[in-house]
């Protein structure tokens, strides 16, 4: 399943980070590594951004980005 499709309030584990280059690096830096817990906190206006709790921080991602993360 993609992270973008996870419902609000659920907590999932990262299975794979399929982004590349710059974005991959950014994801890794934020702690989106294999096995990391990600909690889906909230969707923003127009369902454009979603807030996730990643490694204790609140990070907002667009759907384009969160679809690149495979989760369990």
């Amino acid at each position: 399943m993609k992270l973008a499709d996870v419902g609000v309030g659920k907590t999932v584990k990262v299975k794979q980070n399929s982004a590349h280059d710059y974005l991959k690096e950014r994801f890794l830096a934020l702690g989106l590594t294999k096995g990391a817990d990600v909690e889906v906190l909230r969707k923003g206006p127009k369902n454009n951004l979603t807030v996730y709790r990643i490694r204790g921080a609140m990070i907002a991602l667009r759907n384009e980005e969160s679809s690149l993360i495979e989760v369990l």
């Binding site: 974005l23 994801f27 702690g31 454009n48 807030v51 490694r55 609140m58 980005e65």
Partner: protein, 639 residues
């Protein structure tokens, strides 16, 4: 591949990273994730006033300061925040390069006590580069509020680096930090080349990050105790502040409220300042008379220089001194990233970057600062859009004009309901600016700067209680000094020039009148007049002087009046043919017209391109003329 000065052939860059120092001086670098309070640590240690705020990306260039401790002197470098040494947005590059090539004696990695797990990743990376490292776990007061307990000794033993728990904003742990800096700076490191292992193979780096984070997670489980209930505080606030339904309305209401307070509060101090300064003018004038100074020189000094100085201070200073502390309160609270969150969908549709919101907010203070702030945007295309459009946010120099004019022309009786109208009209002006920004971005990204929106990750930092007293004090002092120095440097000479132009005659008329007559048709076409256009042209070096220059131009041709109240300002303007349309169009023109000279120079520096600098001049100017032309004609049709 080792990332070192030699391998990347950055010899030419060495100067920037070689901090000049003598034998008794040590260079200390502050690194850390964005928004962990590096600048606060910096300010505490150096006594300087580096701008602080609760949002990631606030510091985009490194700041430098000094402090003495015991017998040594330390040069402190405040590096832009960075999540990792491998991700390279423009501001993060500065940090990475400095840590790889710089001649520092100690690195203090500042970490957020409330988010230690994420912060440790950078600690691991930096400790790979050097063993002269101190971990400063900051914001320990916030952690305490959230019932987070950190076992410092345990962590120290495990990581084998010195750790200090601090709360930089109230000085907690700072002496201990200085002691550690002293000790660590003395360590003599073997002259090895600092290098960072960078493997081209993504999967290997992924594995390293994974190991780093697993280790960080393990450390956190072992040495940090959290209280889950307290963690949810921010979540509850954000459920409302960034909700689909209330997010944008709350934002607009807050903006309106800030303007309302500014207008309400500015009136009385404005009058006090005016009484004081114009009273002084009268005395100065008398003294010069007694000294027998001739009329012409007296005119240049008193009616030209002093008067415009007094105008700038009494009209421009109070709104600034109220607006900016209020704005800073929200900034410190952590509200700005929420604004970016709420508005991202609009920017995305315009083909721009959501973080442009943050550089726009910086633009409120100063567009030149806003343009530099665009460095937080990673994609060059989107950064360029943000740079070119930044001017469409009214800055420090233009805000007072908008505030004063809306107070003069859109409040009638002074009742409470009435006082809301100017606040609404300013909010509307700002919204028009945002709308123009989005439209220009949309046009640019569909024509000259084609491309797809780049990736976007935005951290919403924890809310932090702002230090109300300190903010009010520092931003008041800050703004006062800023306005006063601009007044002295720009307003006084401009005042002298305008006075000369108004008093040197060519034929029947003064040079100023000749000029005004020349610009009159163009001015009329867009609902302004020749004098207003001259004032805007004179405002090119600093927009603060537009209103003073304009008044001086008007007064030099008719009656001379001093500033008594907003009402007297309106009287002067009305007697020079102003209508509500003129007021609206002056506000719009001020909002939309060309950037000031400082901003243009900054744009040239940031883009390195004359072409884009020119575009940044032409685009807003074109919009300003077009919009004012339209409103002027609409007004004439309707009324």
């Amino acid at each position: 591949m080792g990332l070192t000065a030699q391998s990347v052939k950055l010899e030419s860059l060495r100067d920037i990273y070689e901090i000049e120092k003598n034998d008794k001086q040590y260079v200390v670098a502050l690194a850390g994730n964005p928004n962990t309070g590096k600048s606060t640590v910096f300010n505490y240690l150096t006594g300087l006033n580096q701008h602080t705020g609760n949002w990631p990306g606030k510091t985009v260039v490194s700041a430098r300061g000094q402090f003495k401790y015991k017998n040594n002197e330390y040069i402190l470098i405040d590096l832009p925040g960075s999540y990792s040494l491998f991700t390279a947005s423009k501001d993060e590059e500065v940090t990475r390069d400095f840590l790889c090539y710089g001649n520092y004696d100690t690195v203090v990695v500042v970490a957020d006590a409330t988010c230690l797990e994420r912060n440790l990743n950078l600690v691991f990376q930096v400790s790979e580069l050097t063993n002269k490292i101190i971990l400063c776990i900051n914001l320990i007061d916030e952690a305490k509020k959230k019932n987070i307990k950190i076992d410092k000794e345990g962590l120290e033993k495990e990581l084998k680096i010195p750790i200090v728990l601090t709360s930089a904003r109230n000085g907690q742990g700072m002496k201990e930090l200085k002691d550690l800096i002293e000790k660590t700076s003395q360590i003599i490191e073997e002259e090895t080349e600092k290098s960072l292992y960078f493997n081209q193979d993504e999967s290997i780096r992924e594995k390293i990050s994974e190991d780093n984070y697993n280790y960080a997670n393990k450390l956190k489980q072992k040495y940090v105790k959290e209280d889950v209930n307290k963690l949810n505080r921010d979540k509850k606030i954000d459920d409302i502040v960034t909700s689909k339904k209330f997010g944008i309305p709350i934002m607009l209401a807050l903006l309106g409220l800030i303007f309302w307070i500014t207008i309400q509060g500015a009136n009385i101090p404005s009058q006090i300042l005016a009484d004081l300064l114009f009273g002084l003018q009268y005395k100065l004038d008398k003294i010069l008379l007694i000294l027998g100074v001739n009329d012409f020189i007296r005119g240049v000094f008193i009616d030209g220089m002093y008067k415009s100085l007094a105008w700038v201070i009494s009209v421009m200073l109070p709104p600034m001194a109220i607006f900016f502390p209020l704005f800073t309160l929200f900034e410190d609270l952590g509200y700005l990233p929420r604004v970016a969150f709420n508005l991202d969908h609009l920017f995305k549709r315009a083909g721009a970057h959501g973080k442009m919101c943050l550089s726009m907010c910086m633009g409120f203070g100063c567009n030149a600062a806003g343009v530099i702030g665009c460095r937080i945007i990673d994609s060059p295309r989107e950064r360029l859009i943000a740079v070119i459009t930044n001017n469409l946010v009214p800055c420090n120099g233009r805000f007072p004009l908008i505030i004063v004019l809306s107070a003069a022309f859109f409040a009638f009786t002074g009742s409470f309901v009435d006082s809301i109208i100017p606040a609404l009209s300013i909010t509307l002006i700002v919204l028009i600016g945002v709308f123009a920004t989005l439209s220009v971005s949309y046009l640019l990204s569909n024509t000259l700067l084609k491309g797809i929106p780049s990736t976007f990750t935005l951290e919403l930092p924890p809310y932090r209680a702002p230090q109300v007293g300190r903010i009010i004090y520092t931003s008041l002092i800050d703004r006062t000094i800023f306005v006063l120095s601009r007044a002295a440097v720009v307003a006084a000479p401009a005042g002298a020039i305008i006075w000369l132009l108004a008093n040197i005659y060519v034929g029947e008329l003064s040079i100023l009148i000749h000029m005004a007559n020349f610009f009159e048709p163009l001015g009329r076409a867009i609902g302004l007049d020749g004098f207003i256009l001259i004032a805007f042209i004179a405002g090119f070096p600093a927009n603060e002087i537009v209103i003073p220059v304009l008044l001086m131009a008007y007064m030099s041709t008719g009656t001379l009046t001093d500033f008594e109240s907003i009402d007297s300002l309106r009287q002067i303007l009305i007697s020079n043919g102003w209508t509500q349309l003129t007021a609206i169009n002056v506000m719009l023109f001020s909002l939309l017209h060309w950037p000031c000279s400082t901003t243009l120079l900054t744009i040239k520096k940031e883009t390195g391109s004359l072409k884009w600098t020119l575009a940044a001049f032409i685009i807003p100017t074109g919009i300003a003329f077009l919009v004012c032309f339209i409103t002027a004609n609409l007004y004439r049709i309707i009324w």
